[in-house]
């Protein structure tokens, strides 16, 4: 039994403590916005916040986050109106969209660490996350747009 906070609500899951947080979030708790892309800390599709810091949820065992506060894309805003989500829609960033939950969660962590990042700082920070559709330049623009609002 592991207890933690998910998107502001306490949850308790009865899963093996070594099961990946990613799978617990998706399959036990039913939040599918967090994606599996590689399971190897290489793509960032699984990015969530653990106690405010960006983490690859494919690299954490659920037992390791006992008591922690986990935020997923579903918890970033109540209604999809976080400044980053609005900027993502304004800039029409997603193509296939599969990487984008992870991109947005990573970008949100960037803006909380560095509210006015330069283009280079954005590119470096976002390099943890792959986008095979090639939307990187739009991601940069959307992060810059959101930074003006945050």
């Amino acid at each position: 039994m592991t207890q933690f906070t998910l998107n502001g609500r306490p949850v308790e899951v009865d899963r093996p403590t070594d099961e990946l947080l990613l799978l617990v979030i998706r399959d036990a708790l039913g939040l599918k916005g967090t994606k599996y892309g590689c399971g190897a800390a290489m793509c960032g599709a699984c990015t969530v916040h653990v106690d405010g810091a960006p983490e690859f949820s494919c690299q954490l065992a659920v037992g390791d986050i006992e008591g922690a506060e986990v935020t997923t894309i579903e918890g970033l805003s109540e209604d999809g109106t976080h400044p980053l989500q609005k900027a993502w829609i304004d800039q029409q960033v997603p193509q296939c969209g599969y990487c984008q939950s992870g991109q947005i969660m990573r970008a949100a962590a960037l803006l909380s660490e560095n509210p006015e990042p330069s283009r280079t700082e954005i590119a470096n920070y976002m390099s943890a996350n792959l986008c095979r559709c090639g939307t990187y330049n739009r991601i940069f623009k959307a992060v810059e747009q959101a930074a003006l609002e945050v």
Partner: protein, 731 residues
Amino acid sequence: MTAQILRPNLSRRTLLKGGAGLVFVLGVGGLSAVEVNAQDATLDVNQWLTISPNGAITIVFPSTEMGQSSYSTLPQMLAEELDADWNDVVIAQLNEDDRAFGNPIFGGVLYTAGSTAVQGYYDPMRRAGAQVRDVLLQIAAQQLGVAKDSLRTETSTVIAEDGTRLSYGALAATGLDGVQIPDAEAVTLKDPQSFRIIGQDIPRRDVPAKSTGKAEYAIDVELDNMAHAVVLRTPVEGETPTAVDDAEARTVEGVIDIVTLPDGVSVVAETLWAALGARDLLQVEWSTTSPARNFNSETTLASYAEAVRDPEADVAVWAEKGDATSAIKNADSTVSHLYLSDYAYHAQIEPMAAVASVDPDGLGVEVWAGTQTQSWTTHTIMETLGTTQDRIRLHMMTMGGSFGRRTAFVQDYVRDAVLSSRAVGRPVKVTWTREDDVKNGTFRPAAAQQLEAGLTTDGQLTGWHHKVATPTVIGFFNPGRWEIVKPNDVISMRGAESKFYDIADFRADHIITERQARLAPYRGIGAAYTSFAAEAFMDELAEAAGRDPLEFRLDLVRDNQRGQYLLEKVADMSGWQDRGDRALGLSFAGYSSSMAAGVAEIEVDDSSGEILVTHIWAAVDAGRIVSPDNAHNQIEGGIVFGLSSALSERIDIEKGEVVQSNFYDYEIVRADRVPPIDIHIASVDAPPTGVGEVGTPMVSSAIANAFYAARGQRLRHMPFTRDRVRSVLQS
């Protein structure tokens, strides 16, 4: 024309659930309308669109969505001619192999590939919209007692001369008495000048869900009582499991069953985590007789290089004009070079996944999958269960990228989900790990290409011969199709026709080599490597002729004014004429009838061998652009894809096994290596020709040519990995 086309057998389509109104049916006999009332609310018909009394206009989306935005773009084309209010439009995914909706470019097969969706549906979907608009005008004319010609339409409304406005919803509810349905070919289409939807930046329908984590992909499907499966697949193509020791695997808590498949072993468990753990404990012996065990990518490429230089090799002529051989023989000088390219992997971020729920009788099934083809997915399921099409309930899910990956005639991940579900009598989701996806990848083929051309003493091109040694891709991923089209393989050869240039004596040959890997179409298909070779060679020719690469190319596009415009435009955008010390490389290629001129600017780190691309400019002509902002996004994505495959993407095969496993040894480009990309899209009055792949083919040659500008050395083997660049610099 018949008044009604009913397809009572297709009883599962319930687009009309709960609504009454007019249903417009485009079937084999053309368009017809069917009146529906509340009692008939679940009438099953085969329709392009329905208009409900409440004003909702439901338009069928006949392709599948993998990021290219056809989901929004195709219905827009119909809505334009219908003069619909885009906000009234509801989009309905076509979830079956109903050839009445097929893409004319593929002979009616439901197949989303080759940047053809807008091109193929541009005419039929606009005509369907125009027909329905005409019918609505007739109904309004009757109601108002005025001439049809006196009426006009705008945003889902018919407007009379006296200002009376009738909504499409209200008209649809009133019936069809006395209405004549016009012939599809005879309806008048709009003058593009009056387009309100086509050519506008209308936001994509799927972007909000894709910005909030709500978009549902096959890998996300969750059903009651669903089990999870992972498959231990044969490490080498063509082998089968000969002995399975699953005793230990079965002890893992949550394991439901272990199912032997033709080429793998499926571990079915209550959770994905349990299935993965149990799979690690399987002991499987595989047969060892497959000829694929001899596949080694290094020797494969060497043998292709040998074949391409062998004057006796059998060739299939891909394109020919004039007499290239004589022109080259009579030239004042000749230039010839060999170009190589390795296997490449699609690397779509969503790995393969499918969910199947087989009926108790083992013949019916409901399937959720993301694929590029309703037709071949249906085919796969029918073959797997030995069943008929009417027993299949399909859900075509939006895909987390594809780029050609999900096009095969036989889709093994779908098959595995169906077989696993049948075995355990429960719904089963099959998920491939990234490692499964790489190891069982289907690749862009390796290729060796020899180019030879003649030059006159005054620096003119005379005679061009392009030989491509690579296997047939179609022969592997769709053998039945190959029987029809052979020896012409557009997937293997596209681009080698160099059709945007006017070269009087021209020849491109396909040397069809032995297949030594699993193959598939790949973004840009043949042009991803043929245009690399052709456009890198073009620069070498310009150099040998002592001419500027731009001037040399402009000579060859005198009959292609749209191409000439692109070359001049990209030169202008990039400051080509005053480039000074900047290392710029030019290329001019494209995809099908869409053209792209590109310039790459690079820097080279000599010690690491890394090429840093610092800027890319592109000028693109893809005919009329239906969705400009999305076109820009697609072209940019295509360029990034080209950049990535040029610099680092490479699959190796040893003893029949794929060497790479994941994104740590198959590198795709990351944010910090993506340069600013400036794109100009030409505005032309011509039919649309597709934007999904046009950006890709020119990139690798632009980079190779920029490398020559930077270091005076040629890169003739793609990808230009750091070690290859270092060894070129040291040579």
